[in-house]
């Protein structure tokens, strides 16, 4: 007879076999047996101050490593507090394994203390949810959870663990290997479809690669670059795709969509072939569907067949892993030996350059007021090339997407699909735990930061050297912008002047902090804070009237961009209107 172990011990051994190095969590009654086993388990645990932060930190960890991030919470409110983070991970296809405590099995369904129908609530927020019924099932469930999290289209998986199961003893039997090491990714395309795709590419005069987060998930940035350079195709990325193609590359067009650049959106309107790779034609990208790439044939490469024709009808779909599919396309192009650039392709690239010159992304670089774009550009210039950037949600998120120079994949953390405020700082914590020696910078708005700043305690407790740049415009800036532009400046409930002094608050946690209110002080402050090996915060007081342009109004197409504010408005008028109560 083998040795018996408790469910808690079996769970921790199962996690070790999945190469889990760190768990983000917060204990409670239902998981006390597990925390007792964790005491001497040799797996690092980061105590957060709200379970939502545990989910965001696990998400951030997963985005930078490509491996599942793990969070652990107690039953009832602990589990319900995870749901926002899991929903965000599902929307962005991020592998997260969430472990939730549950009341003892005999009490399930009887409205016990801190009981919630966790699995029921998790159904629309996860790829799969398991309720473990006996300790002997733990190894296979954990193995499955990790495999599902990384297979096909990655996403979050929840495992609900009754307290009685954690305390039960049994002889475990572990599956071989780690589930996350063997992701299942079906290939559904055939060689004929690859040849047809290459026919379309080589026949097109004005092609465009439209790239999303799927390229990063698949580790296909190298293959993407090879295809773009071989076939001379300009590349635009979604918010999720930033970093998949170097921002400074001559073929890079940056982000498209609602806040995409003029040249980028115009290129979309005029392309005759759009190759979508790991992107889902989200409404923030397409604008009005009938105006999205209206003259283009479309090829869609995606690992998830349900994304094909979901929002936009395409002419050809190649369902499978982006890495393998792009490799096949490159190999076919090389096989045909057509490596010279046709004149029409040259003209297309020159046209795009002229659009860039016509309306570049711009802001008032000479203003005495600190412009948020200036802060972001300065950080981009000074930070190391492999710095990891996390953002919260709002105007600062869009400005970072527009003005930060992303050179590598897995250096950008953004709650893109769900757009969850409060994401940025805890996600940065998760990323820093994965790469303790890299620069990790969180750009957060004053609104979103106030949702999760309680984890300032966490970064001090564990000496996590995250750098926090608060882009402080004393308002819910993106909401204010929409109220200004689309609701005739009827500003309602966007005033965040009644916020804490972030410098004093950070200092009360033991974090060195600075406020910057003048343009001349920005560069020095950034250099100082990035060179520090401890957590730091800078509260950048930026222009509260600055808006994010271009913007595509709701219901409009990509060709109907608003490029800037009406000329007749002067700054003082906007500020007066803004603070009128």
């Amino acid at each position: 007879m083998g040795k018996s172990f408790t469910g808690s011990e079996i769970l921790l051994e199962s996690l070790r076999r999945q190469s889990v190095k760190v768990i983000f969590g917060l204990p409670g009654g239902a998981v006390l047996p597990l925390y007792d086993a964790l005491y001497s388990a040799g797996i690092r645990h980061l105590l957060v101050r709200h379970e939502q932060a545990a989910a965001f930190a696990a998400d951030g960890y997963a985005r930078v490593t490509g491996k599942p991030g793990v969070c652990l919470v107690t039953s009832g409110p602990g589990a319900t507090n995870l749901m926002t983070g899991l929903t965000s991970a599902l929307m962005d296809s991020i592998p997260v394994v969430a472990l939730t405590g549950q009341v003892p099995a005999s009490l399930i369904g009887k409205d016990a203390f801190q009981e919630a129908d966790t699995v029921g609530m998790a159904l629309p927020s996860t790829k799969r949810a398991f309720l473990v019924r006996k300790a002997a099932d733990i190894p296979s469930v954990i193995h499955q959870a990790f495999e599902i999290a990384v297979s096909g289209r990655p996403g979050p998986v929840l495992v609900d663990l009754p307290k009685s199961v954690l305390m039960e003893t049994t002889e475990p039997s572990y599956p071989a290997g780690a589930g996350a090491d063997r992701p299942r990714r079906l290939r559904e395309w055939n060689e004929g479809e690859v040849r047809r795709a290459v026919d379309m590419i080589l026949e097109s005069n004005q092609p465009l690669l439209y790239v999303g987060g799927g390229v990063i998930s698949a580790g296909a940035s190298g293959e993407l670059r090879e295809l773009a350079e071989l076939a001379h195709i300009p590349v635009t990325t979604t918010l999720m795709g930033l970093g998949s193609f170097p921002s400074g590359h001559p073929l890079s067009l940056g982000m498209l969509g609602m806040h995409g650049a003029y040249a980028t959106n115009t290129a979309v309107c005029h392309c005759d072939l759009m190759i979508a790779v790991g992107a889902r034609f989200d409404d923030r990208v397409t604008g009005r569907i009938d105006g999205f790439a209206p003259h283009a044939k479309k090829i869609q490469l995606d690992v998830d067949p349900s994304e094909v024709n979901k929002n936009v009808p395409v002419d050809l779909a190649l369902v499978g892993d982006a890495h393998e599919t792009l490799q096949a396309l490159v190999a076919e192009i090389r096989r045909r030996g057509k490596l010279s650039v046709p004149p029409e392709r040259h003209q297309w690239l020159q046209r795009i350059e002229s659009w860039k010159d016509e309306h570049p992304l711009a802001y008032d670089k000479y203003s005495s007021i600190v412009k948020p774009q200036y802060v972001i550009e300065k950080v981009s210039q000074i930070a190391s090339e492999d710095a990891i950037i996390a953002v919260d949600v709002g105007q600062h998120q869009m400005w970072t997407a527009q003005f930060y120079n992303f050179r590598h994949p897995r250096t950008w953390l953004s709650s893109s699909g769900l757009g969850t405020m409060g994401y940025g700082f805890p996600a940065a914590v998760g990323a820093q735990m994965a790469f303790p020696d890299r620069q990790v910078i969180a750009f957060v708005g004053d609104g979103g930061f106030q949702m999760t700043l309680n984890d300032l305690a966490t970064i001090v407790q564990y000496r996590v050297p995250v750098k926090i740049a608060v882009v402080n415009n004393r308002s819910l800036g993106m909401v204010r912008q929409w109220q200004e532009i689309f609701f005739e400046k009827r500003y309602c409930d966007i005033d965040l002047n009644f916020s804490p002094d972030f410098v004093k608050l950070a200092e009360s946690y033991g974090i060195r902090a600075t406020r910057v209110e003048h343009r001349a002080d920005v560069e020095g402050a950034v250099r100082d804070f990035l060179s520090d090996r401890e957590p730091r915060l800078i509260d950048f007081w930026v222009d509260p009237a600055e808006n994010c342009y271009p913007i595509i109004p709701p219901g409009a197409s990509l060709g109907e961009m608003v490029l800037g504010p009406p000329r007749f408005l002067v700054e003082e008028e906007v500020l007066d209107d803004l603070w009128a109560v």
């Binding site: 699995v119 029921g120 159904l123 629309p124 790829k127 799969r128 949810a129 398991f130 309720l131 599902i148 096909g152 289209r153 998830d304 067949p305 349900s306 094909v308 024709n309 979901k310």
Partner: protein
């Protein structure tokens, strides 16, 4: 437009709950549904009304759902080209007898709670005599797509004829 969806799942009520939630969220109008269970798992047969432009996405979404497998999609085929028939025998108990008499060799793919899905083996064409166009509880179909790998079509829960 009417479609019939069939699928099988792990024997896990969580997966079935997820399926129901998917049907709700995707806005499918469910006209009839039946679930059957056996030790090896569950099967579900549903007649839905949804535009043809959505059915590809629904099919792909279902077959990509964890715990769900062997998804098949059938289109309402109001002509003799139909090669499948879905019958709700509680509408007309004589329908089953008629099919079995007129089409010997027809194969029951699914049977549960008075609902039957037949594969018609009559040189691939449904005789006019029982095409039953417009007859209540009788839905002729042609199969559009399936994710099933094996040639066996019977669903878990089917009762052999």
């Amino acid at each position: 437009m009417q479609w019939l969806l069939t699928l099988e799942s792990d024997r896990d009520p969580i997966v079935i709950c997820r399926l129901m939630n998917i049907f709700r969220r995707k806005g499918l109008t469910i006209e009839t549904m039946t679930l059957a269970a056996k030790p090896e798992g569950y099967s579900c047969v549903t007649v839905v009304d949804t535009p043809g432009t959505d059915i590809d996405h629904i099919f792909n979404y279902l077959r990509s759902t964890e715990g769900v497998f062997n998804v098949a999609c059938y289109r309402h085929e109001p002509s003799s080209a139909a090669s499948y028939v879905f019958v709700e025998s509680n509408a007309n108990p004589e329908s089953i007898s008629r099919i079995l008499e007129t089409l010997p060799g027809s194969k029951i793919i699914f049977a549960s709670h008075g609902k039957y899905l037949f594969e018609i083996r009559s040189e691939g064409r449904l005789p006019q005599s029982i095409s039953g166009l417009g007859e209540p509880g009788f839905l002729p179909l042609s199969r559009v797509k399936t994710s099933r790998q094996r040639s066996q079509m019977e669903l878990v829960g089917a009762i052999s004829s």
